[in-house]
């Protein structure tokens, strides 16, 4: 359950991070690959070494989708419709990986925002990313 204030906070944070979407996205992915080696199996067709073009463009895509969703959280199912289909029928990523990625995104935010990533911001962001992942997985079955 997200309060109005939390939704504002989430939108603010992603708005601020959109200019560095590539950096944030790539870092979160790299953290996930380092901590959950199984997640790399979904990227066997790409070059996911640090600072590779594939990694950065992929990270950017993910962050921009998260940022877009944050602009109107009540409309997540609408905003994510096409991505839901992509993930369910083509990518078929095991949803536990969404959890791993969300955690690594939170760690990335902490490393970048330092003390600005307050417990309240963390709680709000964790809730948002969980909701995002849940909506993303809705068409899986």
């Amino acid at each position: 359950m997200l309060s109005a204030r939390e939704k504002e906070l989430i939108a603010e944070i992603w708005d601020r991070l959109t200019p560095v979407a590539e950096d944030i996205g790539a870092e979160a992915l790299l953290r996930m690959f380092a901590t959950e080696p199984g997640s790399k199996t979904y990227f066997s067709h790409l070059d996911i070494s640090p600072s590779s073009a594939h990694l950065r463009s992929h990270g950017k895509k993910i962050v921009l989708a998260i940022a877009e969703g944050a602009k109107d959280i009540s409309q997540l199912a609408v905003t994510l419709g096409p991505l839901q289909t992509l993930h369910a029928y083509q990518l078929r990523i095991d949803p536990t990986n969404f959890k791993f990625f969300s955690h690594c995104m939170l760690v990335t935010l902490a490393a970048h925002m330092r003390n600005d990533f307050t417990p309240v911001a963390h709680a709000a962001m964790d809730k948002y990313l969980s909701a995002f992942a849940a909506v993303l997985a809705e068409k899986f079955r």
Partner: protein, 147 residues
Amino acid sequence: MVEWTDFERATIADIFSKIQYEVVGPAALARCLVVYPWTQRYFGNFGNLYNAAAISGNPMVAKHGTTILHGLDRAVKNMDDIKATYAELSVLHSEKLHVDPDNFKLLSDCLTIVVAAQLGKAFSGEVQAAFQKFLAVVVSALGRQYH
């Protein structure tokens, strides 16, 4: 027996030498109580946990957070037998405190995030992996004596 690489041993020792226990411990526990409010069930006698500000300013939370981090020290100094190191604490958390062991993971995630905020760029993916592996071993040891 857990196998630790030289990098992992050095990384864990390095992190614990760099962080201030009286800052990180309280911050991690407070964060856990804010981000996962149901964990407050174990701290009924800690007084005011009414909102994030109250939690972050609560002296009992701070004291307990510091205690927890000093407890982690024991694992840092005994990385080759963390299971035995925490056998008693595991019994305590199970028999006396009745803490659901799933909560250990929640606290360890909050600790990871607090350390990331402290170390910034230095908390690379590889460092994070080593730290998370260490905490996973601790969490497993703390849950080991439950039955």
